[in-house]
Symmetry: C2
Subunit: 95 residues, 2 copies
DNA sequence: AATCAGTGTAACGTATACGGTTACAGATCG
DNA sequence: CGATCTGTAACCGTATACGTTACACTGATT
């Protein structure tokens, strides 16, 4: 039960990957093989980490794709949970 | 390093949730608050588990949304990893 | 045989997301 | 000033998620 707004993965990406290596957005985008716009959108919280992007990040930075996807999921789920009450779902008996 | 095609979450959903409770697709869709088509698509591997759907499943079956999202991610990543070679990504020094 | 519930799915619509290119404004630096 | 980096708007195409309606098929039940 996460209580606080988890940072979007882009924030983590910028702080933990770009900053330490002194990479510019332009350089990182080129390295990842995506457009500068796409990376910029992620870094500034306007876009999410797609499965393909997660694999790109894992290849470029030597991390795992799961790490990035998990962050994205935490972020996505947090937003959905906020409107959980609005979802009309019947509680079924546990299997 | 997963080697085998992970089952799509719909398969798990049908076997572990619908079957044990003797639920029809129609009944389950109604309980989840989605259309029969949407649930059918997931059950037959034509659609994925969206974050909202993951929360619906957690509410209906008393599981966690993360459980469902993780299954979806394993499935998604497996497909992307298959074409990992095609992604032109530069390897950067570890941070 | 006829009816009905359940199922998959096609056809159509909408909204959102991801990806790209181009182009522009603002900042910073030599 | 000229060069670089950045964010982002405008536009495109594609894919996904969701909905409704309608159809054909199956397997029970009557």
């Amino acid at each position: 039960m996460k209580m606080h707004n988890p940072p979007h993965p882009g924030e983590v990406l910028r702080e933990l990957c770009l900053k330490p290596l002194g990479l510019t957005v332009t350089q990182a985008a080129r390295a990842l093989g995506v457009s500068r716009k796409t990376l910029s959108g992620i870094l500034n919280g306007r876009g999410g980490i797609s499965p393909e992007m997660a694999v790109r990040l894992s290849l470029a930075f030597g991390t795992t794709a799961e790490t990035w996807m998990n962050q994205q999921i935490q972020h996505d789920l947090w937003h959905v949970e906020r409107r959980r009450k609005k979802l009309k779902v019947a509680r079924l008996p546990a299997a």
